[in-house]
Symmetry: C2
Subunit: 114 residues, 2 copies
DNA sequence: GTTAGATATGTAGAAGAACGAGGTATAGCT
DNA sequence: AGCTATACCTCGTTCTTCTACATATCTAAC
């Protein structure tokens, strides 16, 4: 049973942008996809998901249209705006830079500073 | 000029625990060390640093004594408690799990779901 | 001698994110 | 009729982080 890992602040936005960047999807599917791909490491509660989507939409990074799902239900499909795609690239680079730095620090040993 | 990367929530605690785990240090030196090792990617403002240290001390993860610096000034030297060392290990594992998952997601491509 | 910068610590207030708990509604299965 | 999965949403709490401010000492330049 994998323990749930709370996402650090800001990371959720990046992951959402990434998934939406692969093709229009609705919110519920985004959460499912993140959970699948991460093998249950990333689990997005709805109380985090929907506020994040509205946030990104308000910032002009996502746009949405109501469409029908394959199963016949109405759902709000999100897609990246041009601004959103730029933001995705910036945040991806930023994440890699940061993750690299944290990795460096975690690999530090007593003699590592000099 | 490397752009400042705000640390995601929770990460600062991990990095502080890591540095303190290498040997007793005072707060100001922790920030310097993080900046050096990360090549300026991680920059810790004092308004984040000291509250974090007090938080960790209150949670029983760090303990502190006033001592003299090499340069002759009084400073508060922190060290890991047993609880703090356990926490460091747990958070390190948690970070690796999370960073791995985010990496997986960021490497996703259109066909990556099946 | 005094001004500036680095060292070293701290607080206050605001902004923002994440989460749990709650609510609505439809579709399909038994 | 009841249960589960799908699909959307909001409210209030909690926690972290950051900007700005405030203090004090030591060293070096001028």
């Amino acid at each position: 049973m994998p323990e749930k890992s709370d996402l650090p602040q800001g990371t959720l936005d990046l992951l959402i942008l990434k998934v939406v960047g692969l093709g229009a999807v609705h919110g519920y599917a985004i959460a499912q996809r993140l959970q699948q791909v991460s093998r249950d490491v990333v689990q997005v509660p709805q109380g985090s998901l929907y506020p994040a989507l509205h946030r990104l939409e308000n910032r002009g990074l996502l746009a949405a249209d109501w469409k029908e799902t394959e199963s016949g239900r109405e759902a709000k499909f999100y897609r990246l705006t041009r601004k959103g795609r730029a933001q995705l690239e910036a945040e991806t680079a930023s994440w890699r830079r940061l993750a690299g730095a944290v990795g460096l620090i975690l690999r530090m040993s007593e003699g590592g500073a000099e």
